[in-house]
Symmetry: C2
Subunit: 335 residues, 2 copies
């Protein structure tokens, strides 16, 4: 995938809730230097605190890409978004989106892109042709975030690890495997959109051979214990050929996301299974730390949970927000 140019104009659409704009929010948090301006349509009430600019104003100020980092039910592109998307293309910007509907499949948008020589990044549908994975040993080091469930902080943890590793002077590159991650860095592979045969191969492509002291921080997806997505998680685990794994968890979930009645696995079981399965392509892979999303807990309860878990599992246990992830990075530095 070609890399989307920055800075971005963040398109917030006519959305009414913060969850809908999490793609744009991720950029604001993790790559603030890319978040140049925002545009809100009539009826929308979201605000990232950025200057409001029209596509022409943003393009004139140097924006290279308009990011439609907005999710709605169904993942379609509503008619009232189309004029602004076309305006952005005509102003000379590329457009990046992660809807189920490909922008390239909306004729007026496809025509405007072609007429203006602009690129449409439909990040949810990888257009790349991949080879199958091989599992051959490759140079460089890789850490993969894995989880007890979906949507509990693997991307956030991966970005926090990259930031901390760079801060400590290590060589590190975040490798995005989901649409929000791709929005943030402008490139990557939406791994759950790849044809099944090529899951591991796409990940091998995403984090290829590198310098011996370079770390790829690979964003994980799903969980080996999730009955919907475990196949994706396993292909990702094999393709990443990770030296180190970081287990992500959110305590207190009533059931696996989207599957009422199904309990989350214990951290112990999830660590053991991920290590076991990872050994197929990296016999020395091991879980080096746990990243817990304690956002629903009061401070004292959260800190007690982290301490207890660290003690029980014999490895650092952090919250990317409350404590930072330096204790986990210290473990990576030993590898």
């Amino acid at each position: 995938m070609q890399k989307a140019g920055s800075p971005y104009l963040l398109f917030l659409g006519d959305t009414q809730d913060t969850l809908s704009i999490k793609g744009c929010t991720g950029v604001k948090i993790w790559r603030p230097e890319k978040a140049h301006a925002q545009i809100v349509l009539e009826g929308g009430n979201q605000d990232l605190g950025l200057p409001n600019k029209t596509p022409s104003e943003a393009a004139a100020a140097g924006c290279k890409t308009m990011l439609v980092g907005v999710a709605n039910a169904g993942g379609f592109v509503p008619d009232n978004w189309v004029p602004t998307i076309i305006e952005a293309l005509e102003a000379g910007m590329d457009v990046m989106a992660g809807m189920h509907t490909r922008m390239a499949d909306i004729p007026a948008i496809a025509e405007a892109a072609a007429a203006n020589g602009r690129t449409l990044f439909d990040v949810r549908q990888p257009s790349q042709e991949f080879k199958v994975g091989k599992g051959f040993e490759r140079s460089g080091k890789r850490v993969l975030t894995v989880g007890t469930d979906c949507s509990l902080g693997k991307m956030f943890t991966s970005l926090a690890l990259e930031r901390e590793m760079l801060a400590q002077g290590m060589k590190a590159t975040f490798r995005a495997t989901g649409q929000s991650g791709i929005f943030i860095v402008g490139e990557g592979v939406a791994i759950d959109g790849v044809v099944a045969d090529f899951i591991a191969g796409a990940v091998e492509w995403l984090c290829p051979e590198n310098d011996a002291d370079h770390w790829d921080v690979v964003e994980g997806q799903g969980s080996l214990f999730h009955p919907s997505f475990a196949g994706v998680s396993l292909g990702l685990l094999h393709g990443a050929q990770a030296d180190a794994l970081v287990m992500c968890h959110e305590p207190g979930r009533p059931h696996m996301r989207g599957v009422p009645g199904r309990d989350l696995p214990s951290l112990e079981d999830c660590i053991a299974l991920n290590e076991q399965m990872a050994h197929l392509t990296n016999p020395t892979a091991k879980v080096v730390g746990v990243s817990v999303n304690t956002s629903s807990m009061p401070e004292d309860e959260a800190m007690a949970y982290l301490d207890d878990t660290a003690q029980r599992l014999g490895m650092p246990c952090c919250d990317s927000v409350r404590t930072g992830v330096s204790a986990i990075v210290n473990e990576l530095a030993k590898i």
Copy 2:
């Protein structure tokens, strides 16, 4: 997927070797009543021993579908095949193929299909929209073939199991997950062509709830130990929610298919891992027998191998061709 009508006209193209026509051969072996006639192009030398008929002759004799069950390097549709494919459509037959190139993407073929109201079955590219898998318990019984590697007899074993189960008066339906299997029964899902997110969901769709005493015999793909395809195998295992697994194996392979240097797992390890992973969606799943492809061994050596393995593992060990699979079906009948 709509079911392709039969009988078939088997298109053998201008191929020169038996491996290239294995899709057609599979139909001849497993559904001889569907193999009405064959057509060979100039330069081809393959022969399934069927009457040679033109598309018009075959259609006049009642053929409903021309099966392009031919594989070439690259999986493309050569120009010299196109006139015959169009002739079949004009004669009133549907056309089923499993190439990488979709017939629907070849304008002359797409136009002929539309003009004559015929259906193109591009079985390698599932056109279906699937939901994600859920792993909810469902009625009916399912047996899945799994393997130590790819391409060692999972389809053949599955078809042999279905045939033997029907012969014993059990209710059984073969569920195809690869192109050859789809050719044979005229329907199914090429599971490795599904978008990664939907692997398990596609299998849940393929073998849905059924009568309590009905067995779906689900064709397996790949191996949990194959670094290219384990993700597909795992999604298939979870989606099948199998009550019983049959382990398929071919002794004497120098390495995992396509991955020089990588040894095959032991049968013991492969049985243990498949049972462990299957328990996520069916806690009582177990391997009930082993199906060995002994085609490269002389008779006495083969029989000794089967006996030794059965003894060692404590379960029936068959070769679908040499011994038949009734010993395994006897185990299924107890579930």
